[in-house]
């Protein structure tokens, strides 16, 4: 019973720290392109967030399997970066084809975001972090889920800020990305308050 308690506790801590403390976008700067590029509207931001979170889960699971069953036993760890990026490209292409063929409504909602995910460093970064920290399969899934949720949350929150900004009168030099960066500073600062939420 006590053991179960520790495991559940560990899962909750890992999850929360992935969402809040080590937020992908706001404290690790991964996935800046979609963070600045598709957050003009909350609906697109949410779409991108969900697409990235879903792809992340699949990619992280596959990357763990490939790493543990193929790369490590054969001393091929130096191929990690290359195999992970190929897994990402393959998963994205596979999802695009399958969704278009079998679930057209979902494809219509998320399809345009899928190709952009291949050059999203968040999707490559998370499997690399998982490998670096030596997570087992369960922890990989928990951490990845947290990271994906954190990413989606950051995008949606930030798009709310930007929707309000679009309605206000701001100087020409501050319009577009530069103004967005100042807004991001404030959002990031508020997330910085979570630092030290859990003792390391």
């Amino acid at each position: 019973m006590n053991e179960l308690g520790t495991i559940v506790g560990q899962i909750i801590i890992t999850m929360l720290s992935a969402i809040l403390v080590e937020n992908l976008v706001l404290s690790r700067f991964l996935g800046m392109c979609p963070f600045l590029g598709v957050t003009q509207k909350t609906s697109t931001a949410a779409g991108m967030g969900v697409a990235v979170a879903a792809v992340l889960m699949i990619v992280a699971a596959l990357a763990w399997i490939v790493n543990v069953t193929l790369l490590v036993p054969n001393n091929l760890e130096f191929l990690q970066t290359m195999s992970y990026i190929l897994i990402i490209a393959a998963v994205v292409q596979f999802l695009e084809t399958v969704l278009r063929k079998f679930i057209p409504p979902l494809y219509k909602a998320l399809g345009i975001y899928l190709p952009l995910i291949t050059t999203n460093c968040a999707v490559l970064g998370i499997p690399l972090i998982n490998t670096q920290r030596g997570y087992d399969f369960g922890m990989t899934l928990v951490y990845t889920l947290g990271a994906g949720l954190g990413f989606a949350m950051a995008l949606v929150l930030f798009s709310g800020v930007r929707e309000r900004m679009a309605k206000s009168d701001i100087p020409a030099s501050l319009q577009g990305v530069s103004g967005a960066l100042f807004a991001a500073t404030l959002v990031s600062m508020s997330f910085f308050g979570f630092q030290g939420l859990f003792a390391k």
């Binding site: 706001l26 404290s27 690790r28 700067f29 991964l30 996935g31 800046m32 392109c33 979609p34 963070f35 600045l36 590029g37 598709v38 697109t44 130096f78 191929l79 990690q80 970066t81 290359m82 990026i85 190929l86 490209a89 393959a90 994205v92 292409q93 695009e96 084809t97 345009i112 975001y113 190709p115 952009l116 291949t118 050059t119 999203n120 460093c121 999707v123 490559l124 970064g125 690399l128 972090i129 670096q132 020409a172 030099s173 501050l174 319009q175 577009g176 990305v177 530069s178 103004g179 960066l181 100042f182 991001a184 500073t185 404030l186 990031s188 600062m189 910085f192």
Partner: protein
């Protein structure tokens, strides 16, 4: 000039001639500076610029990868089938990134430790794929290598200057050497994550002001925008019919 080298293939080549070397260098350093004008590769720009050596290190690593990947991609530009070009480019880039990663691990362990996962993440940097797609797939190997070098140095200059300002103001040091008088208390915010956004935001405002808003704007990181993406073309495996 170098486009004429591969005689048997000249009929496949587009008519467009490679720009002059001087034009390539000026484009990379100033006119189309990847960070300041095209706003590509924001992740490393924000993440590693907390200290000058990190900015310089990642900038040079990226420049090396970009030069070599541009050279090889340009050599192979008539061999790679159009439909699988993006995955091919990614594999070539990933190969060079792996080489650089292990070189850094062996000879610069301290730098490797402070850059961490941002070295393997060079693979996912928009700049590399953008240059492969926009330059190396069209022009000869030597112009392409020069383009990679110029773009890489332009990227390095931007990273290094942002990192210098952040380290001096945020930590009071430069390359670890104390730089500020004792009564100045460093603005720690600048080397924390929010400071990354702030510093880059200020740089963008200055660039916008100097060029009267022609820069960045929505071209920017929004190159990864569904409507106009040239860092992630239509379909990754080229499968879109």
């Amino acid at each position: 000039m170098s486009t004429q080298a591969e005689v048997p293939f000249t009929f496949v080549l587009p008519k467009e001639k490679a720009p002059k070397p001087k034009a390539i260098v000026i484009a990379g350093l100033v006119k189309e500076n990847p960070t300041l004008k095209m706003v590509l590769g924001c992740c490393p720009t924000l993440a590693v610029t907390t200290a000058a050596p990190n900015g310089l290190g990642l900038g040079l690593a990226t420049a090396l990868v970009l030069t070599m990947s541009n050279f090889v991609i340009s050599l192979l530009r008539n061999v790679i089938p159009d439909k699988v070009r993006i995955p091919s480019y990614i594999v070539i880039i990933a190969g060079f990134v792996t080489i650089i990663m292990y070189v850094l691990k062996a000879y610069f362990p301290a730098l490797d430790k402070s850059l961490g996962i941002y070295i393997p993440l060079i693979v996912a940097n928009c700049i590399l794929l953008a240059r492969a797609e926009m330059f190396a797939s069209k022009f000869g190997p030597f112009s392409s290598a020069l383009d990679g070098l110029a773009m890489g140095i332009g990227f390095t200059i931007a990273l290094f200057s942002i990192a210098t300002v952040r380290e001096i103001l945020g930590n009071g040091t430069w390359f670890g050497i104390p730089m500020t008088p004792h009564f100045f208390s460093p603005a720690v915010l600048l080397i924390l994550p929010p400071g990354g956004f702030l510093a880059f935001g200020i740089v963008m405002v200055i660039m916008n002001y100097l060029t009267r808003g022609k820069v960045g704007g929505d071209v920017a990181c929004a190159t990864c925008n569904p409507e106009n993406s040239h860092c992630a073309p239509d379909s990754i495996l080229g499968g879109k019919a």
